[in-house]
Amino acid sequence: MSSFKRWCVKQSTALLLILVCLLMMAFLSVETRSFFSVKNVVNILEANSYRLILAVGMMCAIASGAIDLSMGSILSFSAICMAKAMKAEWSVAGSIMLSLALGMLMGAVNGSVIHLTRINAFIITLATSMLYRGLSLIATQGIPITKLPQLFREIGCGDIFGMESGVTMAIVITVLLIPLFYHTKWGSYVMSLGGNPEALKRSGVPIGLYRVSVFVLTGLLSAVAGIIVTARLNSAEANAGLSMEMDAICAVVMGGTAMRGGSGSLLGTVVAVFLMGLIRNGLTIMSVSSYYQQFITGAMMLCAVIIAEMRERRTRIG
């Protein structure tokens, strides 16, 4: 089989999603006047930049045979600490560094507990998501921290190439992940953690180190997403990022990454995030009541995920 044909087979779900995106864009362009405009496309990208950052992190976690249900809570707590630091007259750069460090620390805690206790990542991160969300509520007493410095807002959602900086951040992160995930030992071991961790261990690889590193990455990316969300809202609040990890999981599975791990599709994840953004945007433009939007989005995602999973099972290896 030629390399190109093998790549097409591997990315078949992503390619199918691209086709669905194109069909949906064609439909929305015909049905509504306002869809096919630069402004609206930019709007879709801006509204989904932080979702993409969370989704690519989640893809790494799922490819490693794990899951991180605490990404939304890490987003919230790291952003609250950053906002509090800025309110306490810390420099913007220092506050952002604090947020990133805290994100990595919370991720490291997740990974270490999972590795040391050998308890399922689902259970551990479900517990830590409540723990971190609880810390956010304790730190803020439920009151949002608003009126953040203008410099911070410039960094988090300032204009770069006519789009919010979050879009550039999402693109840079995704592009950096391509070589990291597919062409380095780290990426190879992360996938083997999902494929056969025992084989990796018997090959002399310190699997604990790599397992923790995956969660450090998801923690870091959650903190980056937190910076974007906080800058966009000009507010850090305890409920920020609520259920966002669910959207991320949905995008990862829809994009063709199997929940059991072993491999992952970055392209599929990117396209799935865009498709989900497209669905939300289309429904808004078509003036579908927000009461129905949640239901329709959920139903469409359910169908897409079922189709993606069925296709994955048909081509399952081993």
């Binding site: 089989m1 390399s3 093998r6 070589p179 062409h183 380095t184 030992k185 190879s188 996938m191 083997s192 999902g194 494929g195 056969n196 025992e198 084989a199 990796l200 261990k201 018997r202 090959s203 002399g204 690889v205 072993g262 491999s263 290896i317 081993g318």
Partner: protein, 247 residues
């Protein structure tokens, strides 16, 4: 003194109140194929796991060449030239043949994987041990049992080793695949590789091994040259109620 590559003396291992190994002792001659046979629960796989560094024994010693050790780690075992092919083959089904062969010891160019070099080298290793895999980029999950066994052996022999440990090398294979796997082992013997094979297939063991150890209830109760015994005698030993020191 015989030229021994491996000597195991009085190895003991308990799992809670279960005594998996109760003072097992055996030896492997350099360049030979030595088999360990025994019923389920006789301690064969525990012995392999101890020799490959996956678990630590509670007592006894392992002599590799001239050096003696109380226990080994996976890294120690690899450094001492002990190569292991596990019963489950320890392959990542999503990775292709050359990625599996180099798992844990990938060739890199700067920070990036050098897939071309790994593919070339893996092809050479597979050729050396007479394993035919038409497409090295096919995920190993899609290969036949014999080919998967070949990949697992190729991984074990990627770097020069002194002894190859094989845990039930044909357990999950059909007749044809078992035949090809046995041919690989014969070819390795011709190349001078010492082998310790764990098996419960007595007829297969007779077909390939030079020496046979019989394990029962965590002990090696007999060690015989294949030429000096018969499958019937071995079967009687495995099923015997009393320990018989045949050697």
């Amino acid at each position: 003194m015989e030229d021994l590559i491996l000597r195991v003396t009085d190895i003991r291992k308990d799992y809670g109140h279960i005594q998996a190994l109760q003072g097992a002792s055996l030896s492997v001659k350099r360049g030979s194929i030595t088999a360990v046979v025994g019923d389920n629960g006789s301690g064969k796989s525990t012995l392999i796991k101890i020799l490959s560094g996956n678990i630590k024994p509670d007592g006894g010693s392992i002599q590799v060449g001239q050096e003696s050790y109380g226990s080994l780690s996976i890294k120690n075992a690899m450094e001492l030239g002990i190569r292991t092919v596990y019963q489950d083959l320890s392959l990542d089904n999503y990775k292709n043949s050359f990625e599996n062969i180099f798992l844990g010891a990938e060739l890199t160019r700067g920070p990036f994987l050098d897939r071309r070099a790994m593919k070339e080298e893996a092809g050479a290793i597979l050729e050396r041990i007479n394993v035919a895999i038409p497409d090295l980029e096919e995920p190993v999950g899609n290969l036949s049992g014999g080919q998967r066994q070949g990949v697992a052996i190729a991984r074990a022999l990627r770097t020069p080793g002194k002894i190859l440990l094989l845990d039930e090398p044909t357990a999950a294979m059909g007749i044809h695949e078992s035949h090809s796997a046995m041919n690989i082992l014969r070819s390795l013997k011709e190349q001078g590789m010492s082998q310790l094979i764990i098996s419960h297939n007595i007829h297969q063991v007779f077909d390939i091994a030079d020496y046979i150890w019989v394990m029962r209830l965590g002990r090696c109760i007999a060690g015989v040259a294949t030429a000096d015994t018969t499958p019937q005698q071995l079967q009687e030993l495995i099923l015997s109620r009393e320990n018989q020191e045949v050697q």
